[in-house]
């Protein structure tokens, strides 16, 4: 499906798919909130999760 993992040079005009908002690695606000909940409700901390602040989360 991914056609191998060798990297290709990508010209600016080939970036229409790569620049789509859904292709970005960042998370939207809803996903960030879910990451925060999972940080509290699970023993694990998700890597690359965006933690906007500290907090007890002890309820």
């Amino acid at each position: 499906m991914f056609g191998g993992f060798s990297c290709q040079a990508v010209k600016p005009y080939q970036r229409v798919f790569l620049n789509d908002p859904e292709m970005q690695m960042g998370s939207n606000s809803g996903k960030k909130f879910e990451d925060y909940v999972e940080t509290i409700r699970e023993g694990a901390t998700p890597a690359a999760g965006t933690k906007s602040s500290g907090g007890c989360g002890c309820n």
Binding site: G3, F5, F17, N19, M23, N28, G30, R41, G43, S52
Partner: protein
């Protein structure tokens, strides 16, 4: 024909969105300043029957109302200031069981937080440097973060390296929001355990070192690898968590004074065909409490039109619990460290939901545009009986000065 229309729509959406992204600057109109404002409301409802406040039994019923705002302001092309602020209003049945009366973190508590970051892109170099700080405060907790970041993009814009350092300095004393004190006074223990001081320290320090690597594999595929290392020291137990032992004695939860964490995340985003993006996220986690976690999240973002995207998602998580965890009345009195907090137990969790994204890019005035709307719902189920509903509504506006 339909496909061509969709591609044309995608292209136009891209051209409009390009302003809001770190994409190739040669495709952007020169902008003097840009301000993004996102208004967010999160709603969280939880229920379960393993509250750590009552030693692993009792209700975990909880509702959180969480409005927040995210503001990003880019000026002189290379400078960006970001602010995130909000409040979590927490309505909790379990916290009432600390002392059964309205006292500390009562049945209704609140966490207020704010973070300010400044990021600068060095001229003629694809290097961005950032610093930041902020606060998070609730009745029995105060956290001060210090943040630093660096991100490098190669000249071909196919690869990025990033590094984030976060330090959190926390104080677990209660009293700041109490009208009789207005200052940190003491740790809050369960009411029947206030005859002694259980801990010598009230501080918790956390240091996170986050690394990031993203690589464009081909015009449709992006890979991201995010290893991380965290170190915590100080009071890592929660002082109002009860632990009941086999011999019916009762103590305050006790955990080691240090914790090391090793999370790793691998992400793949693949644009399949002309309207579907598949996202895969695998997460690995191990820490010095002996917790081992693996997660797999899959999302399919389906563009039903150039403006609308529907994204069903599913996540599975498996955790082998901490050696310090045992259920209610299962701990041996000779144990050095002990907790009945089910967040540290062995379990599986499942999350499923849907995200609706609307990208109108509609100009409300000559300078202000309604950029994006997101509505997201997730249902969370943990194999030990905890269930939660999570809803997010986010609306983003952009103001540009050319």
């Amino acid at each position: 024909m339909k496909r061509r229309i969709l591609l044309a729509g995608l292209l136009s959406a891209f051209l409009l969105k390009a302003k809001a992204q770190n994409s190739d600057s040669s495709y952007q109109k020169s902008t003097l300043s840009k301000t993004e404002v996102e208004l967010v409301y999160n709603h969280y409802i939880q229920d379960g029957h393993n509250s750590a406040v009552t030693g692993g039994i009792g209700t975990e019923k909880l509702t959180v109302y969480s409005p927040s705002v995210r503001i990003g302001h880019t000026f002189k092309e290379y400078n960006t200031v970001r602010f995130v602020g909000g409040v979590d209003i927490i309505s909790s049945a379990s916290v009432d069981n600390i002392d059964f009366v309205m006292s500390s973190a009562s049945s209704r508590d609140a966490r207020s937080y704010g973070n300010l970051n400044y990021q600068r892109q060095l001229k003629k170099k694809d290097l961005k440097l950032g610093i930041g700080s902020g606060f998070s405060i609730e009745s029995d907790y105060m956290s001060i973060p210090i943040l630093a970041s660096a991100e490098y993009t190669n000249p071909a814009k196919t690869r990025t390296y990033s590094f984030d350092f976060q330090a959190y300095y926390d104080d677990l004393r209660w009293g700041r929001l109490n009208p009789d004190h207005r200052r940190p006074v003491r740790l809050i223990y369960p009411v029947e355990l206030r005859n002694k001081q259980w801990f010598d320290t009230y501080r918790r320090d956390s240091y996170n070192f986050k690394f990031g690597f993203t690589q464009i594999i081909n015009p449709r595929l992006v890979l991201g690898i995010f290893p991380e290392f965290s170190y915590q020291k100080g009071l890592l137990a929660t002082p109002f968590h009860r632990v009941y032992f086999k011999n019916d004695s009762l103590k305050v939860e006790n955990l080691p004074g240090e914790r090391y964490k090793f999370p790793l995340s691998i992400r793949l985003n693949y644009f399949m065909g002309s309207r579907t993006i598949l996202k895969m996220n695998y997460g690995f986690y191990y820490d010095s409490f002996d917790i081992l976690g693996n997660s797999l999240e899959l999302e399919a973002a389906i563009k039903t039109s150039p403006q609308w995207t529907v994204s069903p998602f599913f996540r599975f998580y498996n955790q082998s619990g901490s050696e310090y965890f045992k259920p209610y009345k299962q701990h041996d009195i000779s144990a050095k460290f002990y907790t009945s907090d089910y967040d540290l137990a062995s379990f599986q969790s499942y999350k499923a939901g849907i995200n609706l994204r609307y990208l109108p890019s509609a100009y409300l005035t000559r300078k202000i545009s309604f950029d994006e709307l997101n509505l997201r719902y997730g249902y969370y189920h943990r194999s030990n009986g905890l269930n939660a509903h999570m809803v997010t509504l986010a609306i983003k506006f952009i103001r540009e000065k050319h």
